[in-house]
């Protein structure tokens, strides 16, 4: 318990809305979870699920309606804790009249970095995110990818132990996403704790030690990406090629009944226990085996299931409510 870098307990957030702010909307309810020291934690969920809300609560941009959280042992209301965390906002935008170097210098001063150390740190960060050549260009001229990199630079400028990133890959091209991924992995290698939110599942699967799934303001599950969906293998998929002549024999026809055909290529699903028998049969028909893969329920399917369940429930409420 004491080792957890981020500890969240029953965190709840209501936003007032409507005329005179009399009604409230609960955007986060009773969130309880932990991020262990040194791990990369992915915060997954559809848009509006509460990911950004949680992150903003953690970094002090909004204030909880109920519950509390601690980062590195200090409560989120303690401003000194901010010296140990780095934050990259969603779709970051910085003072466009400053250059990258000036922005980092400004933030470095806020972090109380002095003189030579400050200058060195700024240089090092710019180099790390690959913006050294653009350091004297005003931020208004930066592309989205460059702004994202500046954002990362300012987030780790002060050597924080915990780094919190809100949708760090959104809006980036594949190259940009690759760069961000690499930086996150480097942060992990440096021993930092990384919490990032995303709705791109493949990124989460690739980078995270653990993920937390949040939807409708509530936490739906926490665990390694595998654990989340259950290590349910759904059988094997065989990809093979069979030329027209061989495919038309009565024997192969029976075999191919269940397969999906695209031109000369076939895709067939079999139970794991049937795998080798089927492979033998296919070889006898003269098929050319292209690949054999294990099918797992993907995070995406899990996700979709979650969302549709939510929707069904919401609709049910609506109907009964009327």
């Amino acid at each position: 318990m004491a080792d957890a870098a981020i500890q969240i307990e029953n965190l709840t957030k209501d936003y007032p809305f409507g005329f005179l702010h009399l009604k409230t909307k609960r955007s986060l309810e009773g969130l309880t979870m932990q991020v262990e020291d040194g791990e990369v934690f992915g915060f997954l969920g559809p848009n509006g699920a509460g990911k950004s809300t949680t992150i903003k609560l953690l970094v002090g941009l909004t204030f909880p309606t109920a519950g509390n959280a601690r980062i590195l042992g200090k409560p989120i209301s303690d401003i000194s804790m901010h010296q140990d965390i780095g934050y990259l906002p969603e779709q970051p935008y910085f003072y466009d009249y400053l250059t990258a170097a000036e922005l980092l210098d400004y933030f470095a001063r806020i972090h109380n970095l002095r003189g030579v150390e400050r200058r060195e740190r700024v240089d090092r960060m710019l180099k790390k995110v690959g913006l050294e050549t653009a350091r004297k260009i005003q931020l208004r001229k930066y592309s989205k990818g460059m702004l994202q990199r500046v954002g990362l630079a300012q987030a780790i400028l002060h050597d924080p132990r915990v780094v919190i990133l809100d949708e760090p890959m959104s809006g980036l091209d594949p190259l940009g996403r690759r760069e961000v991924r690499d930086i996150i992995l480097e942060l992990k290698r440096e021993g930092r704790t990384v919490l990032f939110s995303t709705h791109i599942l493949s990124d989460a699967e690739m980078l995270c030690d653990r993920v937390g799934v949040i939807a409708g303001g509530k936490l739906r599950g926490v665990g390694a990406p595998d654990e989340i969906v259950g290590i349910q293998a759904h059988g094997m998929e065989i990809l093979f090629e069979l030329l027209g002549v061989a495919a038309s024999t009565p024997r192969s026809a029976a075999l191919l009944g269940t397969a999906m055909k695209t031109g000369n290529r076939y895709r067939m699903h079999v139970e794991e226990s049937e795998l080798y028998a089927t492979l033998d049969q296919l070889r006898e028909t003269g098929a050319r085996i292209l690949s054999v893969t294990q099918m797992k329920a993907s995070l995406e399917e899990f996700f979709m299931g979650l969302i549709s369940a939510d929707r069904a429930q919401a609709n049910a409420v609506d109907v009964s409510g009327k």
């Binding site: 204030f63 409560p75 209301s77 401003i79």
Partner: protein
Amino acid sequence: MKARNFGPILLCCLLVPGFAGVWKLQERIDVQLDGLHREADELVLRSGRLLKAMSLEYAPLMADLYWTQVVQYYGDKSVRHDANFELLWPLLDVTTTLDPNLVVAYRFGSMFLSEGPPAGAGRPDLAIQLIQRGIRENPDYWRLYEDLGFIYYFELHDYAKAAAAFLEGSKNPQAMPWMKVLAAKVSEQGDNTETSVFLWNEIYSSTTDPQMKENAAIHLQLLKSDTDCKQLDDLSSEYEKRTSKRPTSLRDLVTAGLLKGMPMDPAGYAYVFDNDGKAQLNPESPLAKKKRFYQKTLSNLANR
């Protein structure tokens, strides 16, 4: 969390003593500022036409603002018994240029520009100029003719012109019938107490401006005291006939059976007799003080 709650607590603690301090401070500042402004007034932009151009379509609104300045300026001066009205004309000039139909400005101006200090600026010529502009821009407002006649009658003692003004005004179908009557009377008799009382009464009843009303009331009171004194003088002559000396106080008249009670001036002070045996206002009476002011006016005018 503590820091967040600190704010409202601090604010509450600061609010009441803070504003109390502000209030007290403001009173002191007001004293200082009064001292500063007493020395001279300032009206930076005197050109009515320029202001009108600058006001775009808001000229009438600007006129209203300037009108409130006029009222405040006059009221301020009155309260401080400051006889320097040099800004009154420029202010009125600007006001009526910005909104030529602001009739109250013309009426106010005609009274207080023509009346001598300390009640007014003592510039009947400017008053006439103002009224003539008013008549030009508002030909249907017959009361402005009344005001014009008023100036000629009271301040300039030009009865011919006064009668002409009344006559002109009487031509307006909405004018009160007495305008014509007055025209005739003035051209015949000139200065006449009855006429004066009538005119001041008209002003008093037709205006809603408090300062004009007050001024009219004072004049009416002075006229009444004049009439009273004249009557007392008549009685004194009677007394002299009977006792071959002038009365020294009202009591003498009462004992002689010529007076039933002790007549008092409109301010509530009993009349007295001066050394020549002429009835006059009690020097203690506030009316007497006002009379002294207006006396100055007459002598000033005579000297011009």
